[in-house]
């Protein structure tokens, strides 16, 4: 998946889990790390783990 596809996917799917739940994202795009961190900042979510290609986000809102 190339940028910004991983970010679009997590934006679509995060609403499927309850607030406080974790979402795991697998992405080999080199932009996924910085962009996921920036997306969490812009959207008020929390990046729990950033270990490419594996990322974990906690839904906060």
């Amino acid at each position: 998946m190339k940028c910004p596809r991983p970010i679009i996917e997590i934006a679509r799917r995060i609403g499927e889990v309850r607030v406080g739940a974790l979402v795991e994202l697998l992405a080999d795009d080199p932009a996924a790390g910085p962009d996921l961190a920036a997306w969490c900042r812009m959207r008020g979510q929390t990046l729990i783990a950033s270990d490419p290609p594996r990322f974990v986000v906690r839904r906060e809102s």
Binding site: K2, C3, I8, A31, A37, A38
Partner: protein
């Protein structure tokens, strides 16, 4: 422009100079700018004020290079007629070329508070940066081989630092400012050969605390490379005295892209990291391209002579653009310091939009912009500047105003951007 250019008077060869045994001429002569060159500079001042021509309208990519100023283009052509000789030769064409080279050094030196004999002309910003870092690393190899930079320096600095053997990249904050505490710690670490800082960042425009960083280097007795590429001619920083080597590029201020600037202070522990010859005092090899160098000096002088008028106008236009984009386009991440920055740059990223599509759509709408997104740049990786600042890297647009960009162009950009973004977002289902 002068109707006729005579090879004998174009560079104002002083009648009393006669035969010169050295290719450098006296400072007293250099202090007087010959009338024809002053004429070209006046033409440049007019250019900086006039309305844009149709070719450059919508060109908002001066971060990749300011279009060649008409005064520089004319100076380049004129110098092809009179300044084409080999500047180390004693014949007349050689003397004329040496004269032009000396005048160019004088212009650059005056802008930087340096001495003319400290000024060297290379082939690009990358060449200047590599020579600066590698030369200090070589000159101080007994001290150590660590090079300290910021995380958002130009890639040519970062690769040169890595090639030196040991590289420490000091972190920056969300707006791109260097952390001075970490800088002091890194610079003072034993084995540091040199440090490097930008006056202003080439992508986001943020000004670094370069005066404070230079003082820290002075105290630690570590030579500093000051990368002035983005700032040269655009802001005053001539009062900074703490640097050992300074780098710049004529393409950034409307001169020829083939001219890099390298200033090495007397006494700096710099050694040429490559084989050299008789040219430029053994600091950069090969016959200099004197007509291009002359054009570069004319371009720089155009900015210096225009004062702050262009910069103030550009600062206001970027502010108008910044506030307009945030108001009209939802979910935009604008990067960089909104106030303490060079006047002409703005970088922003549009959430859920890919940079390649956005760049191409803006081009169709008549606007040329750069992008630091991975999918639109010349590399598979996103901009290291944006990543280090924690800015969004996809959907990135880098705006660089030219000296003729108008408020009408900015307003038209603000009109075309929102529907383009909305359409791209609609196609990926995130609108």
């Amino acid at each position: 422009m002068p109707a006729q250019v005579s090879a004998g008077t174009f560079f104002g060869v002083h009648p009393n100079l006669g035969r010169r045994s050295n290719h450098r001429c006296g400072v007293a002569f250099l202090a007087v700018r010959p009338a024809p060159i002053q004429h070209l500079l006046n033409a440049g001042k007019r250019y900086l004020r006039r309305v844009p021509d149709p070719v450059s309208e919508g060109f908002l990519d001066s971060s990749s290079g300011e279009p060649l100023l008409p005064a520089a283009r004319q100076a380049w052509i004129d110098a092809q007629l009179a300044g084409w000789g080999d500047p180390v030769r004693l014949h007349r064409p050689g003397r004329l070329a040496a004269q032009a080279l000396d005048q160019a050094r004088e212009v650059v030196a005056a802008a930087l508070g340096a001495r003319p004999d400290e000024v060297i002309f290379t082939a690009s910003a990358a060449h200047s940066n590599q020579a600066a870092i590698a030369g200090l690393a070589l000159g101080r190899h007994r001290i150590g081989r660590r090079i300290v930079t910021t995380a958002i320096d130009h890639s040519s600095i970062l690769t040169a630092a890595a090639a030196a053997g040991s590289h420490t990249a000091v972190e920056v904050d969300h707006e791109g400012h260097l952390d001075l505490g970490r800088w002091a710690g890194a610079v003072a670490t034993e084995g540091t050969a040199a440090a490097c800082i930008q006056v202003a960042n080439h992508e986001v425009g943020t000004l670094q605390p370069y005066t404070e960083a230079a003082e820290i280097c002075l105290r630690a007795e570590v030579p500093l490379v000051l990368d002035a590429t983005t700032a040269l001619g655009r802001i005053d920083f001539g009062d900074v005295s703490g640097w050992s080597v300074l780098t710049g590029w004529a393409g950034a201020f409307g001169g020829p892209a083939s001219v890099g600037i390298l200033v090495i202070k007397k006494g700096a522990r710099w050694r040429a990291p490559y084989p050299t010859d008789d040219y430029q005092d053994g600091r950069w090899p090969g016959v200099p391209d004197v007509p291009a160098i002359h054009a570069a000096a004319v371009a720089l002088d155009c900015w210096l002579q225009s004062g702050h008028a262009v910069g103030e106008r550009q600062h206001d236009l970027i502010h108008r653009l910044r506030t307009g984009i945030v108001q009209r386009v939802p979910d935009v991440d604008v990067a960089g310091d909104p106030v303490r920055r060079v006047p002409h740059l703005l970088t922003f990223s549009v959430l859920y939009v890919d940079g390649e599509t956005l760049t191409l759509e803006l081009d169709k709408a008549g606007f040329a912009v750069a992008s630091g997104s991975a999918c639109s740049a010349s590399s598979e990786h996103p901009s290291h500047v944006l990543a280090a600042m924690g800015a969004l890297t996809h959907g990135n647009v880098r705006i660089g105003l030219t000296c003729t960009t108008t408020a009408a162009e900015i307003d038209r950009f603000l009109d075309v951007l929102p529907p383009i973004v909305a359409e791209i977002r609609a196609t990926v289902g995130t609108s």
